[in-house]
């Protein structure tokens, strides 16, 4: 078809509802506020790994849906989470990203969280234990007993990931929340303690869902040199997507002979427990989390939506706590090869979503974003995104293909078909080489 005129361009695609979305879901500020309220404040968010606060009195801060959160390890080794908000006049109880309360603040005692502003102090359970000149000022009207921090539901689960939920009324625990999407890697994560070795972040001017989409669709592997050149074999096309409750999806190798599907490399002996050598699972959790176990290392991306067109993505890499130094270095090397800031894929993924951000700035004209590929649920099938937006629509009570309308069911699962055959050439390969 030749280039389209305005009317043709604005016409709805000849696809089913659910096979495309309206770009306003990525650019509209009102929708964004609804998402914080209806989704992010009601989801279990895997904020960090417990090895980021290894010792009693260690803490780490984070943000969920604009709400500041502080996670602390108590003297009983239990990890608890609180709103990082002082009940007095609303200062952040602690303003650092991480640290230890073993040392006191200049205006407070060791082993307490001290709000430095007026010296209110809290223990690791969030109890208020000090209000300077309490009686002189409040005459019993405000007391320590009534001024504890706001405690948040917090579970340490699936290999030591610390999950926090802002809403006490959400009627599931973390296991219920996952809906089984982590079962494929649960044993590998839980066999022995994990430890973090990598952290960096990127802030990109685009909607958080664009990063999540990129993590859930693999058709974009054409963008990645390594995948372009070596990746598209039979084993690659045999990977299948599976959908779970609450909008989660995973992708992994289900049907091929593990020994054959990827050229064995030197990471085989570093493979995580219970994982066939060099096997690989990618779990995309609603609304903005990716947990990826690829042989020798775990990657976890957490998206923190900052505005309709701004997202912070934090990248973590994890190995086994029992690693020798040499083993750890090899894991780090493997991790960096793909997922580090200089790795072969990550930088291209960031460039991709930044480019989408350009075309979907707030108040830009609505456009149609396609997610209609059907490949029998195999790797280039766009069912992951379709499943995500079906859940999104329900939670938001909006229709993803026209967010000014109310939700109506529209999930499309394509016909069964065999996996594609590996390909040895494609348009662009020659140019790329």
């Amino acid at each position: 078809m030749p280039a389209r005129n305005q009317e043709q361009w604005e016409k709805k695609p000849d696809l089913k509802l659910g096979e495309w979305v309206d770009s306003r879901i990525y650019s509209d500020e009102e929708i964004f506020e609804d998402e914080l309220r209806n989704i992010w404040k009601k989801a279990w968010i895997p904020l960090m790994h417990e090895s980021e606060l290894p010792e009693p009195f260690d803490f780490r801060t984070a943000i969920i849906a604009r709400e500041p959160v502080i996670v602390v390890r108590g003297p009983d080794n239990k990890i608890r989470a609180f709103l990082n908000v002082c009940p007095h006049r609303g200062m952040a109880v602690d303003r650092r990203p991480a640290g230890s309360f073993l040392t006191g603040e200049p205006s407070g005692n060791a082993k307490h969280m001290t709000c430095m502003f007026h010296g209110w102090q809290f223990d690791m359970n969030g109890n208020c234990v000090e209000i300077p000149r309490e009686n002189a000022g409040y005459q019993g009207r405000v007391t320590k007993e009534g001024q504890g921090l706001r405690r948040l539901r917090c579970e340490t689960k699936y290999g030591g990931i610390v999950w926090v939920c802002l809403d006490d009324k959400v009627d599931c625990d973390v296991e219920g929340w996952t809906g089984g999407c982590l079962d494929c890697i649960k044993d590998s994560l839980d066999e022995e303690p994990l430890e973090i070795f990598h952290y960096h972040k990127a802030i990109i001017d685009c909607n958080y869902k664009l990063w999540h989409d990129t993590n859930s669709e693999f058709y974009h592997d054409y963008m990645h040199y390594h995948n372009r050149i070596t990746g598209f074999d039979d084993g690659y096309f045999a990977r299948k997507c599976a959908a779970f409750d609450n909008g989660h999806v995973n992708v992994g190798t289900f049907t091929v002979n593990y020994g054959e599907y990827e050229v064995a490399d030197d990471r085989g002996d570093l493979t995580f427990p219970h994982l066939p050598p060099n096997n690989w699972y990618m779990v995309d959790m609603f609304p903005g989390v990716n947990i990826n176990l690829r042989g020798s290392a775990v990657r976890m991306d957490l998206m923190t939506p900052l505005s309709a067109n701004k997202v912070m993505i934090e990248f973590r890499g994890l190995g086994l706590k029992s690693d020798t130094q040499e083993t750890r270095e090899r894991r780090i090397h493997h991790h960096n090869t793909i997922w580090g800031p200089f790795g072969r894929n990550l930088h291209e993924d960031l460039v991709g979503i930044a480019g989408q951000g350009v075309t979907m700035m707030p108040n830009s004209e609505p456009r149609r974003i396609l997610q209609g590929r059907h490949e029998g649920l195999y790797i280039h099938d766009e069912v992951g995104m379709r499943h995500f937006y079906e859940t999104w629509g329900k939670w938001m009570d909006r229709l993803p293909s026209d967010p000014s309308k109310k939700y109506e069911p529209g999930l499309v699962v394509g016909p069964e078909m065999p996996p594609a055959k590996g390909i040895s050439s494609f348009p662009g390969k020659v140019a790329a080489e």
């Binding site: 990203p97 973090i196 070795f197 960096h200 800031p341 460039v351 080489e433």
Partner: protein, 162 residues
């Protein structure tokens, strides 16, 4: 060309900056010994860990540079401003170590919105080079470089080595 070890080291570091600024990867590798080791490291106070973001030997670095044109990476050039803070030449004048402070700026080309952002520069990375050299034939040759950075936010465009 200098006959003084300290000056040779400084010449090598500044020449490396020019080569890296201009993406003359081969010229930079020619300044390095066959056993050269390159790394980008950082300490993260967020997770309390020393981290390695990249670690490559001479051959791996060569391969890495060879792949750069095949990647769809950001086109915005990175350039550095460097100041050599200290040079220690050993007693026999055969080896040396140096610490160099650097700032890397990004000249926006692929902007977030290119027509708007292009032409703007901003600070991208802050760090120190910890370099080791062999001094031979009136030249300081890199045997090791650790680019120890104080930046954990690495947005798009991070794929060019520092």
């Amino acid at each position: 060309m200098s006959t003084n070890g300290t000056e040779m080291v400084k010449d090598a570091i500044y020449q490396a900056c020019l080569n890296l600024d201009e993406k003359k990867w081969d010229d930079w590798l020619n300044q390095c010994d066959d056993k050269f080791q390159y790394s980008v490291t950082a300490f993260s106070p967020e997770i309390g860990k020393d981290m390695k973001y990249l670690g490559l030997n001479h051959n791996e670095l060569k391969e890495y540079f060879g792949l750069l044109p095949k990647h769809n990476t950001d086109h915005s050039p990175l350039r550095r401003h460097a100041t050599v803070y200290s040079v220690d030449v050993d007693d026999n004048g055969k080896t040396a170590e140096a610490v160099t402070s650097f700032l890397i700026t990004q000249e926006m080309f692929d902007g977030v919105n290119a027509p708007l952002d292009t032409g703007e520069n901003h600070l991208f990375v802050v760090g120190k080079y910890h370099d080791k050299f062999n001094i031979d034939n009136g030249q300081a040759v890199f045997t090791k470089r650790e680019a120890r950075i104080h930046t954990r936010r690495l947005d798009k465009g991070s794929h060019w080595v520092f």
